[in-house]
Subunit: 213 residues, 2 copies
């Protein structure tokens, strides 16, 4: 943050601490073949400028002026379960028309589809729009026919980070991702149970929160 | 970042520097009725821990361990023009059907509508889906009939920040916002010229960039 001009020795100290830190001033002095007293003003400048930090009985370590790293850590520390929405779910037997009605009633962008309680598909506004103009009878066709079906669905788990799931959304060009857990039921059947939904809206909302803090 | 226990005097120093900074150590000493020598270890701890910073001939100022503030600044410093996409535009006379085809061809979520070259409306997948199942003849109805019309459109300017526009998207519950400038043409007509588009996708992509840095 400070805009300071560093000497060659100060730059060498930074390199040493980056590589070997935490490291004591004695060790740095010995590596540079100078006395501790000689180093003292350099270390004072480097710590005051926030480039190095020092902890008693531990030594110096590198902090850097690394705001991007700080932001990255923050985005990675936010968990999906802290930001997911309630998912809107229909069963595979629901008609395309009913699914469109659900989209409007719930004001959602995409709907998750289940078969026997387990995630079986995802259907987006785009899929529904395609069916609606495609000349098929949307009152008869079940949504299971037009949905994207497992295993071609991008999923997330509760413990994924905000940045993991945002990356999936961008890389796979999807609007929303079901948050799931794999379970084995008492009846012996197993599959993904739907816990929540993460969409670009959740990411945008988190972004607004961060900016407002 | 460091997790240190501060003394009462150190906390008082922080309050003074927060309020009066930049401030010299002499001034702080006089406000606390102690000598500079007494303060020296306190100031060393506060600067080494990154809470205060010091500049020669200026004095101490407050930095804080304020990562949220840092993130907020970063999000506010990113300008819309650095992250906007190329907008997809149709004229008011285009039919609803043609607009749906455009949405699929361009793989976009919403389309901006112009009248005589100026922004006149916005139409989303949701609007188009509603028309497609609404029983109207989408081959005849012009998109101008079903679009959201000026002045009921949320707009942004090139110089708005990423966080401004993300907030508009969330507050107004829209998927995308036209980036515009108000112009007066040589023919005397005036209105908004469309420069770009910001959607939740752009915000999510920026989020991924930040996390990856």
């Amino acid at each position: 943050m400070s805009n300071i001009q560093l000497s060659d020795r100060q730059l060498k100290i930074i390199d040493i601490v980056k590589e070997k830190g935490p490291i004591t001033s004695e060790q740095i002095a010995s590596m540079l073949s100078v006395t501790r007293a000689t180093l003292r003003p350099d270390l004072a400048i480097l710590t005051m400028s926030g480039i190095l930090d020092a902890r008693p009985k531990v030594g110096y370590f590198y902090v850097g002026i690394d705001e991007n790293n700080l932001i990255s850590k923050k985005l990675k520390s936010k968990k999906v379960e802290e930001m997911m929405s309630v998912p809107i779910v229909v069963s595979e037997e629901a008609t395309v028309y009913d699914t469109i009605v659900t989209i409007f009633l719930e004001d959602t962008g995409s709907v998750f589809v289940t078969n026997d309680g387990f995630l079986s598909g995802v259907v987006s506004r785009k899929d529904l729009l395609k069916s609606a103009i495609g000349g098929m009878d949307i009152n008869k066709i079940p949504v299971g026919i037009i949905m994207t079906r497992m295993p071609n669905i991008i999923i997330a788990s509760q413990n994924d980070s905000a940045s993991d799931v945002a990356r999936k959304i961008i890389e796979h060009e999807v609007d929303s991702i079901p948050v799931v857990e794999y379970i084995k039921r008492e009846d012996g059947k197993e599959g993904y149970r739907i816990l929540g939904k993460i969409s670009k809206t959740n990411i945008t909302r988190f972004f607004v929160e961060l900016a407002g803090e």
